[in-house]
């Protein structure tokens, strides 16, 4: 998990270094005008952070709600535009803001000096504090952060709590996960001894879950680490000013208190006592939606991946170096880099130049990735067909293309069918990585269900069963076609 954060940082540095050098800060600051002309304010958040922001079912529909969302609504209202909320993992928020996928971040984010290097912040709109969450049975043993010395502590990846833990609890070992719900699951299953969390979040979780307890962590906090602020793209001072005006209205009228009350109410309503009796079946629409997206991504990616794979394999077998070399380079490069980076690269880096929606970015990245693997499978299949077949076809006057299409390729396809099937199954499973850019596939929806139901294991079990049903029925289907193709072997 440490790795993920380092990658995110490297990636951010990489992006800023590329684009900040090539695109010097524009003289005119048109941040506010741009949002007004679009008519929407796109807010990035990580919706697993009650009461700041979380998923709640209102009138049977899934919504992202919470104090931050109310504040974002107020800002949008003051700007006279519509609000659009995008749920992205916490550590992907900063890159998303930098490349313009979102206009602002409202995610209970503290304005640290480290973050100020890459983005600008508004005034602080809420000052919480840092709490420690433990299991109730340990409430007697652990009463301050000193008691947790040399113990295992959970924090959210890329969060302020992570740096607090590192600086002020150096003896403890740290487990960092990107979702709070995963941390809570880790705590309940004794993987960690405590979680460091924003005070309001801690209060919200404890109020809704009798298996959790919390106390003030007693951390020494710097001025800039104390409060939550809105993040905007660097150099958008007009936007900061507009947001600060909204915040000062909010502070003057003490609106945050109302917002928090409302959020607490929503939390209770959607996760109140009757929630405890709910089964996973009540969340079927989340699973169905996620399964739909997973199937969509896999099918479309396998389709385009196969086309790309065929083209690449033909290029690789070309006699001309100028055609062959790029294909080899492509395959080697794609196979030699992690798919997660490829997805983030397409979404953030390419998205900087052309705005590609998350779903399309995911599909493009998975197709490009799968194409490289399918290329190698097809190439091995074409090589496996006896040379005599080509000679026989050519001696009948067939051109290279005709021989390939009617004689060689059908035989190769039969030989590589099991390997292709394997690749398709891999795509179904691996495509789950697209959830890091906020595509609502099965994994993404599972995390929502986890945060809605406050249960960790049941959603995982359901998801596992769904994945297995998908891959197993695909296996059956592929076997059927394999038998059909085998008629020529007596």
């Amino acid at each position: 998990m440490m790795k993920k954060r380092i990658l995110a940082i490297i990636f951010t540095i990489f992006l800023t270094s590329i684009f900040s050098t090539s695109l010097p800060v524009l003289a005119a600051d048109e941040s506010v005008e741009n949002i007004k002309s679009k008519g929407t304010l796109v807010v990035g958040t990580s919706a697993d952070f009650p009461p700041y922001e979380f998923h709640a079912t209102i009138d049977g529909k899934d919504n992202i709600v919470g104090m931050d969302i109310s504040i974002a609504e107020k800002i949008a209202e003051d700007l006279g535009v519509e609000l659009e909320v995008q749920d992205i993992g916490f550590d992907s928020l900063l890159p998303a803001l930098e490349v313009g996928k979102v206009d602002i971040i409202v995610a209970g984010m503290s304005a640290t000096n480290e973050r100020r290097e890459s983005v600008d912040f508004s005034d602080v709109y809420y000052i919480g504090g840092q709490n420690i969450v433990v299991r109730p049975s340990d409430n007697e043993i652990y009463t301050s952060k000193g008691d947790l010395n040399a113990k295992k502590i959970g924090v959210q990846t890329g969060s302020i709590q992570e740096s607090l833990a590192k600086d002020q609890m150096p003896e403890s070992s740290i487990m960092s996960l990107s979702k709070i719900t995963d941390l809570i699951l880790a705590l309940k299953t004794n993987k960690i001894e405590a979680i460091i969390m924003e005070k309001p979040s801690a209060m919200a979780y404890v109020a809704n879950d009798k298996d959790l307890a919390t106390f003030d962590g007693g951390f020494i906090l710097e001025e800039d680490e104390q409060g939550a602020a809105v993040a905007v793209k660097k150099g958008s001072s007009n936007l900061v000013e507009a947001i600060n005006q909204s915040i000062s209205t909010i502070n003057e009228n003490n609106l945050t208190e109302d917002y928090l009350k409302e959020a607490g109410q929503l939390l209770k309503e959607s996760q109140g006592p009757q929630e405890q009796t709910k089964t996973m079946f009540n969340y079927w629409n989340y699973f169905a939606k996620g399964t739909g997206y997973t199937i969509l991504i896999s099918v479309v990616s396998v389709f385009f991946g196969s086309i790309l794979g065929i083209i690449l394999s033909l290029m690789r077998m070309s006699e001309r170096k100028i055609v062959r070399i790029p294909a080899i380079a492509y395959v080697e490069f794609v196979r030699g880099t992690p798919m997660m980076i490829q997805i983030m690269f397409i979404y953030f880096a390419v998205g900087y130049l052309i705005n590609i929606p998350a779903l399309a970015s995911g599909i493009i990245a998975v197709s490009l990735n799968s194409g490289a693997y399918i290329c190698e499978i097809i190439r091995s299949g074409l090589n496996s067909v006896d040379k005599g077949q080509t000679e026989a076809a050519r001696s009948l006057g067939m051109s290279k293309q005709t021989a390939m299409r009617y004689i060689i390729f059908p035989q190769a396809l039969k030989n590589i069918w099991p390997a292709l099937g394997n690749e398709f199954i891999t795509v179904i499973k691996e495509s789950s990585i697209v959830s890091i850019i906020g595509v609502s596939d099965l994994i993404f929806q599972t995390k929502i269900v986890t945060s809605l139901s406050y249960r960790g294991i049941a959603p995982l079990a359901v998801t596992m069963v769904i994945y297995f049903m998908l891959t197993f029925s695909l296996t059956k289907l592929l076997n059927y076609y394999e038998r059909k193709m085998n008629h020529d072997q007596i």
Partner: protein, 241 residues
């Protein structure tokens, strides 16, 4: 009909054909014999450019093959049927489809005509009952007869046979040779590489003896088998007869 002048072919440093010249006349049946590695298969494969000669010229009906573009070579290959040692039937296609695919995809025959022609050819090689079988279910001899029919489906002007019986069990050699022999009676021009000396004597108008990349001598079967001129020919014949 086919002339070849000063053909040379080397694979890497290995010279397989060293300065070969000769001619195949219309309606002539030429049998090429010689020890393994003498270059006889390579010569045959050069005739329809399955192997491109390193140097030299091949002239087929006034066209210099070695100077042609890819498309024209494809066009000329249609006129030269080839039968391989290992049959090389298309295992993914049924017998009748093996016979129909090239006429349909290359010549552009319609399905009906191709079917009619294929049925006729299967009858000619005595395999009408195997129309819908797949190659893997046939014996070696049956497969080779289908391969011959497949080559004939393109209505070639020349048939090239590359050791057509070498991969067969002994009891199946006869049925394949019978089909080839029947073909000689239609006046088809043929070049046959074979180790079946008895068969060579029987069908050949002319026999070519090759050794170590050269044509050592050629003549009628009587001349070559009864009174060979060269010591190498005598040595070879002494071993195989």
């Amino acid at each position: 009909m086919i002339k070849f002048k000063h053909l040379k072919k080397s694979f890497g440093k290995k010279e397989v054909l060293i300065d070969i010249s000769g001619e195949i006349k219309k309606n002539e049946v030429v049998v090429i014999i010689g020890p393994s590695g003498s270059g006889k298969s390579t010569l045959l494969r050069c005739l329809n450019l399955l192997e491109v000669p390193t140097s030299g010229e091949i002239i087929f009906e006034q066209t210099v093959l070695t100077q042609l573009t890819e498309n024209k070579v494809n066009k000329l290959r249609e006129k030269m049927g080839m039968v391989f040692q290992s049959f090389n039937l298309f295992p993914n296609l049924s017998v009748i489809e093996n016979l129909k695919i090239a006429p349909i995809k290359v010549v552009g025959l319609d399905e009906k005509e191709a079917q009619k022609q294929a049925e006729k050819l299967l009858e000619q090689v005595g395999l009408s009952d195997k129309e819908h079988s797949f190659p893997a279910s046939l014996s070696g001899g049956q497969q080779q007869r289908v391969a011959i029919a497949r080559a004939l489906a393109m209505n070639p002007k020349v048939m090239l046979f590359d050791e057509p019986t070498s991969a067969l069990d002994p009891e199946m050699v006869g049925e394949v040779l019978k089909v080839i022999q029947d073909l000689t009676e239609t006046g088809m021009t043929m070049v046959i590489v074979t180790h079946e000396m008895g068969f060579a004597k029987e069908v050949a108008d002319r026999v070519i003896f090759m050794d170590a990349g050269y044509i050592v001598e050629e003549g009628t079967p009587e001349q070559l088998f009864e009174c060979p001129q060269h010591q190498r020919t005598k040595n070879f014949l002494a071993k195989v007869l």
